[in-house]
């Protein structure tokens, strides 16, 4: 290894990384420069910002329900992420640590059911929630709970599978010694295994959050009042009609929508790195 030149060791790596970064960043740079472009139209936007002005951000908060949409999205995504992570982790524990009849078909079923193009069931879902809205308005249309409940339907699925894979890498001897010490299965799960699988929970939590904040089709059917919309529904409405004129506001909204996800990324950074590595070394 000592004989290698700087280029052979790390130089080419930098080159690949820089190319990848440029490709990854140029649309984002375009959005950022459009967001600060005082004209606020698509036709006047370019990749290199020509002018800096916060006018699009001011309009976004002043003329649209953006602030409200933002809060709604945080509520819906926060709740559905936390709850679906909880449900998925329970499921993963059962599938990883117990052997019971129906285990393998059950696992396969969870993956296969997700492959039904579920949004085509939207008519049935709509009819279901029309009845639910009549009976229980608190969890009906135009409430955050309606979407949270619906998203929880997918909690047992690919996420369970990912978490289960990580659970499998935690040595069974740990459970068994805990059991010998008299710990219940709940205590084993909660106090012994859960702290060891934090990394995968962080990764799956981020995935679930991103999935929820991007969900558009069902949200647009469920949330029709301006003050109940989520970011996806609200921002789409901005460019649905006035595509060129509202582009600046839309770009500003896109940047702000990314903020919670980026914050989440940074918060769980060390887990994503450490977790993905530590997890399967044991496997």
């Amino acid at each position: 290894m000592t004989g290698q030149s700087w280029w052979g060791r790390v130089g080419w790596r930098h080159l690949v990384a820089i190319l990848a970064c440029i490709f990854a960043l140029f649309p984002i740079l375009f959005v950022a420069s459009a967001a600060f472009n005082p004209l606020g139209t698509l036709s006047s936007s370019s990749i290199i910002p020509t002018n800096f002005s916060p006018v699009n951000f001011e309009n976004l908060f002043g003329k649209t329900g953006f602030g409200r949409w933002f809060i709604n999205s945080i509520i819906v995504c926060g709740l559905s992420t936390f709850l679906s992570l909880t449900l998925a982790t329970f499921g993963a524990y059962a599938f990883s640590r117990f052997r019971f009849s129906g285990r393998r078909p059950g696992l396969l079923f969870l993956l296969i059911i997700q492959m039904f193009p579920a949004f085509l069931a939207i008519v049935t879902i709509y009819i279901m929630f029309t009845v639910i809205t009549d009976l229980y308005p608190v969890i009906g249309f135009n409430t955050p709970w309606s979407l949270v409940l619906l998203y929880l339907g997918g909690a047992l699925g690919v996420n369970t599978y990912l978490i289960k894979g990580f659970f499998d890498t935690v040595p069974k001897e740990l459970d068994e010694s805990a059991k010998v010490d008299g710990a219940s299965h709940w205590l084993t799960f909660y106090a012994i295994i859960l702290p060891l699988v934090t990394p995968v929970l962080a990764v799956v939590g981020v995935l679930a959050f991103i999935g929820a904040i991007n969900e558009f089709l069902l949200a647009s059917v469920f949330l029709t009042q301006t003050d109940t919309k989520t970011l996806a529904v609200g921002l789409f409405g901005l460019v649905a009609g006035e595509r060129n004129a509202n582009f600046g506001m839309f770009a500003a909204g896109t940047l702000l929508t990314a903020v919670p996800t980026v914050v989440l990324f940074f918060a769980v950074q060390k887990y994503i790195v450490g977790g993905l590595t530590a997890g399967s070394v044991k496997g």
């Binding site: 790390v10 080419w12 790596r13 930098h14 690949v16 990384a17 990848a20 970064c21 990854a24 649309p27 984002i28 375009f30 698509l42 936007s45 370019s46 990749i47 499921g91 524990y93 059962a94 599938f95 117990f98 019971f100 285990r103 993956l111 296969i112 492959m115 039904f116 193009p117 579920a118 949004f119 085509l120 008519v123 049935t124 009819i127 279901m128 009976l135 929880l152 339907g153 997918g154 909690a155 047992l156 369970t160 069974k172 059991k179 008299g182 219940s184 299965h185 709940w186 991103i210 991007n214 921002l235 582009f247 929508t257 990314a258 990324f265 994503i272 977790g275 993905l276 399967s280 070394v281």
Partner: protein, 526 residues
């Protein structure tokens, strides 16, 4: 493990918690919450006299109690919470959707045959010489612009007030009536002024109030009459006849509609079982099956290409960055996964606009003047490039994690000299990596096969051939079905459900084959 339940039995483990007091308290508290939620759910069901859901709710609650009070089957306690939501919000909608695949459910085929007959008779209501007349005031129970409309009808002779909606006519008390018979105030209702009523003329025209002798319809904004239906249903011939013109429409029970001698159907039909008709139609109706095959091929091409290019690029970048000598890895990693943190629905719209022919960024930067979404192959290229940008950061992250998890001694042994490096990668690293990522590759395939968003938010399926505005060059099966299913005024839910099942069978088959292969890979590696 099999011995676990036995162990808990030995310790007299009561179920969810262990044997100590706290866990018993916690369990009682949780079950109390379950009971409270069940009661909360039950009250409106009881009030609405919905007995079947109520019985199901009671049975489900009892089962939950049984699950958490029994000490033998531990895993089910961890599976029940997620399963409840899975059943309610995924399996039940899918089952209902699947069951509509065998019906003609859609616009014009929603209710029963009786509903259809009633609708036909009501819409044909016409004024007859001795029709009773009323003074009409239009009101609503909600917002004047959107709320459900009701008619306040005042008998010109007796000044008696009645309220009518699509359900029928009822006496109404407490209204203030002017000398002309117009209602000026009505408790619990908002009266519409002429402007508000005029804005809702379409709703007014559609509102027909059934009465024992016929039906009441509005005439203008302040009069209503009770007319008689011009079209009648006769049970002996199972047909509808028009008393004015003598025309006849005979019931066709296999398609759920009334048709005349030339085969033309009345718009009001009923929902009926059509067996496998929707499935055979997908293959035999030339308007559907013609584009179907082409779309299927492109659909496979798109899904496979999306997975391959994102995976290969993600892996290459991950390999480049996976080096202990590269100090800046954290910095690069954050920048590369940034696209994944951006809201994808918004970035899809941004990409659509970047491909805009006149002021899009791509044409601006390259100096070209390509009409990207105007030609089939440039549109497909644009879609793939967009999906590539959206997808490769994730693959990069996954591959980086998988590479780093491969024990260092294996990779170091492989990195001794350049000549053996590639060999070692092929023989050692790649198979290990594939085991780790193939479930994700299969999931990615399944996701992209049904990736409605990328089509719906960018090309909307276009460009379209001149003869078929519904099946475009970039249409995936889902977006094609979506257009068929939700075409304004001509929604065909039954047919869309049938095609959904076909899509599901395709994706599930491919995925199961994929999983089998993954399982085989795992065996080899062990």
């Amino acid at each position: 493990m099999a011995d676990q339940p036995a162990a808990s039995r030995l310790r007299g483990d009561g179920g969810l918690g262990g044997g100590n007091t706290w866990s018993i308290v916690a369990k009682i508290a949780l079950l109390a919450i379950v009971a409270a939620v069940a009661v909360w759910l039950a009250v409106p069901l009881y009030a609405a006299e919905m007995w079947v859901p109520l019985v199901l709710l009671i049975v489900a609650t009892v089962l939950i109690f049984v699950v958490y009070l029994q000490p033998w089957h531990i895993p089910i306690k961890y599976l029940v919470p997620g399963t409840i939501f899975l059943v309610l919000f995924q399996i039940v909608p899918v089952i209902f959707t699947v069951s509509t695949a065998f019906t003609n459910f859609g616009d014009g085929h929603r209710g029963t045959k009786e509903d259809a007959i009633r609708a036909i008779e009501l819409t044909s209501v016409q004024r007859v010489p001795d029709s009773p007349e009323y003074v009409l005031t239009i009101a609503t129970t909600g917002d004047p612009a959107t709320g459900p409309l009701v008619f306040l009808l005042v008998d010109p002779a007796t000044k008696a007030v009645q309220i009518g909606d699509a359900e029928g006519l009822k006496p109404f008390d407490g209204a203030t009536v002017s000398d002309t018979g117009k209602v000026t105030a009505a408790p619990g209702l908002t009266l519409l002024n002429a402007g508000q009523a005029g804005a809702r003329s379409a709703d007014l025209g559609a509102l027909t109030i059934p009465t024992p002798n016929g039906a009441i319809k509005s005439q203008g904004l302040s009069r209503a009459f009770e007319g008689k239906p011009a079209r009648d249903y006769k049970a002996d011939c199972d047909c509808i006849t028009d008393t004015a013109t003598g025309a006849t429409w005979t019931a066709k029970n296999d398609t759920g509609s009334f048709v005349d001698a030339s085969g033309a159907a009345l718009p009001q039909g009923w929902q009926t079982n059509v067996g496998l008709g929707n499935f055979t139609r997908a293959f035999t109706d030339p308007a559907v099956s013609g584009p179907f095959l082409g779309i299927l091929v492109w659909n496979f091409g798109f899904a496979i290409a999306s997975v391959l290019i994102t995976f290969v690029a993600g892996l290459l970048v991950a390999m480049a960055l996976n080096s202990p000598h590269l100090r800046a890895i954290r910095f690069y990693r954050i920048l590369i996964i940034l696209p994944y943190a951006m809201p994808s629905f918004a970035m899809l719209l941004v990409w659509r606009d970047m491909f805009n022919q006149d002021f899009g960024l791509i044409n601006n930067l390259t100096g070209a003047h390509v009409n990207w979404f105007g030609e089939a192959w440039t549109a497909r290229f644009a879609i793939l490039l967009t999906q590539f940008w959206l997808g490769y950061p994730y693959m990069f992250l996954v591959c980086l994690g998988a590479l780093q998890s491969i024990p260092a001694d294996l990779t170091e042994a492989a990195a001794v000299d350049g000549a053996r490096r590639f060999q070692a990668f092929k023989a050692v690293v790649f198979p290990l990596l594939l085991v780790a990522v193939s479930p994700l590759l299969i999931a990615s395939f399944a996701f992209n096969f049904n990736n409605y968003n990328i089509i719906g938010l960018t090309t909307e399926g276009g460009p379209f051939p001149p003869d078929n505005p519904r099946a475009g060059a970039t249409d995936l099966l889902v977006s094609y079905v979506y257009k068929l299913a939700f075409a304004p005024g001509g929604a065909q839910y039954g047919f869309a459900a049938a095609v959904s099942i076909l899509i599901f069978l395709i994706v599930a088959t491919v995925s199961i084959i994929g999983f089998r292969r993954t399982a085989a890979l795992e065996e080899i590696n062990r």
